[in-house]
Symmetry: C2
Subunit: 115 residues, 2 copies
DNA sequence: ATTTAACATCGCAATATTACGATAATATAA
DNA sequence: TTATATTATCGTAATATTGCGATGTTAAAT
C-alpha cells in the first residue's frame, strides 16, 4: 500500500511526535557519540577551561573535533571566550543542568506507571 | 598526511575511547530517536503492559516499529512475555534505572570541576 | 606586510540509520 | 487443514553521520 504523502526514506518523521519527545531525542543525540561525551568530560576536567589540546587528547583530526564541538555548541552546551587566537571552551552549566533534569524527569515519569 | 592504519571513513572510532565513555554514548543512542522515546513512554503508560497498538499509536509502519523495538530490546530495556500470539512488552525497570543512574553520574561528575 | 598558529568550513568517501513494503514465522481460530 | 492475526526479518532506497585532508579565516607575532 502506498502512502499519499511522499515518504522520504531514511528520514526521521519528526513531525509526528510531540515536542517533548523530540526534545529528549535531540538532547540524547548530543551524547550519542563517544567523541562528544569525551570532549565534554575533558572540558570539564580542565581547570580554567583552557582548551584545544582536545585534538591531541582525544585522537581525532582537528576538523573532526571541530565538527563535534559544533554539535555540542548548537545544543547550547558551550560558553566560549576568546583568548587571543585561542578559543577557551567552557560548559554552559545552566543548560547542562537543564538537560540533566529533562532526562531525569523522563526516566522518573516512565518508571512511575510501569509493571 | 596519511594514516598508517587504514581509516574506514564514516565509522566511529569506538576503540579509542575508554569503556565508560562508550557506554554512555551507546545508552544515549537508544534515546536519540523520537520513535524510541515515544515507544518507551507508551509502554510505560499502559497498565498491565498489554501492547502492540503501538503501531497505530505512533504512526509508523509495523516493520519500522519492530526495528525500533529491537534496538530498545538489544539495550536490555524490555521484558517480554507471550500471551498467545501477542507479545506483551514491558520495561525492564532495573535496567532502566541503571541507565538513569549512569546518566546522572555522568552529569554530576562533569558539572563538578567546571568553571 | 608576512608569517604563524588556532579554529572553522568545504568537499569527499564510506558506513549507519531510518523508513517502507513484502515476506516469513508462529500461534490461535474457524 | 486452512485462514487469520501478530510480530520479526529481508531487501531496498534515501538521508544522516562520521571521518579525513585541504582550504579559509582571523588574530597575534615577526
Amino acid at each position: 500500500m502506498l502512502n499519499i504523502y511522499s515518504i522520504i526514506m531514511g528520514v526521521s518523521k519528526v513531525e509526528i511526535y510531540p515536542q517533548h519527545i523530540n526534545d529528549i531525542a535531540q538532547i540524547a543525540k548530543v551524547f550519542s557519540h563517544p567523541a562528544r561525551v569525551a570532549i565534554l568530560q575533558y572540558i570539564s576536567i580542565q581547570e580554567s577551561c583552557i582548551c584545544n589540546d582536545i585534538v591531541e587528547e582525544i585522537g581525532l583530526s582537528q576538523s573532526t573535533i571541530s565538527q563535534h564541538l559544533k554539535v555540542i555548541n548548537n545544543a547550547g552546551l558551550l560558553q566560549g571566550t576568546f583568548e587571543g587566537k585561542k578559543i577557551c571552551y567552557c560548559i554552559n552549566i545552566e543548560r547542562f543542568e537543564m538537560f540533566q533534569k529533562i532526562f531525569d524527569t523522563f526516566f522518573n515519569r516512565t518508571k512511575q506507571n510501569c509493571c
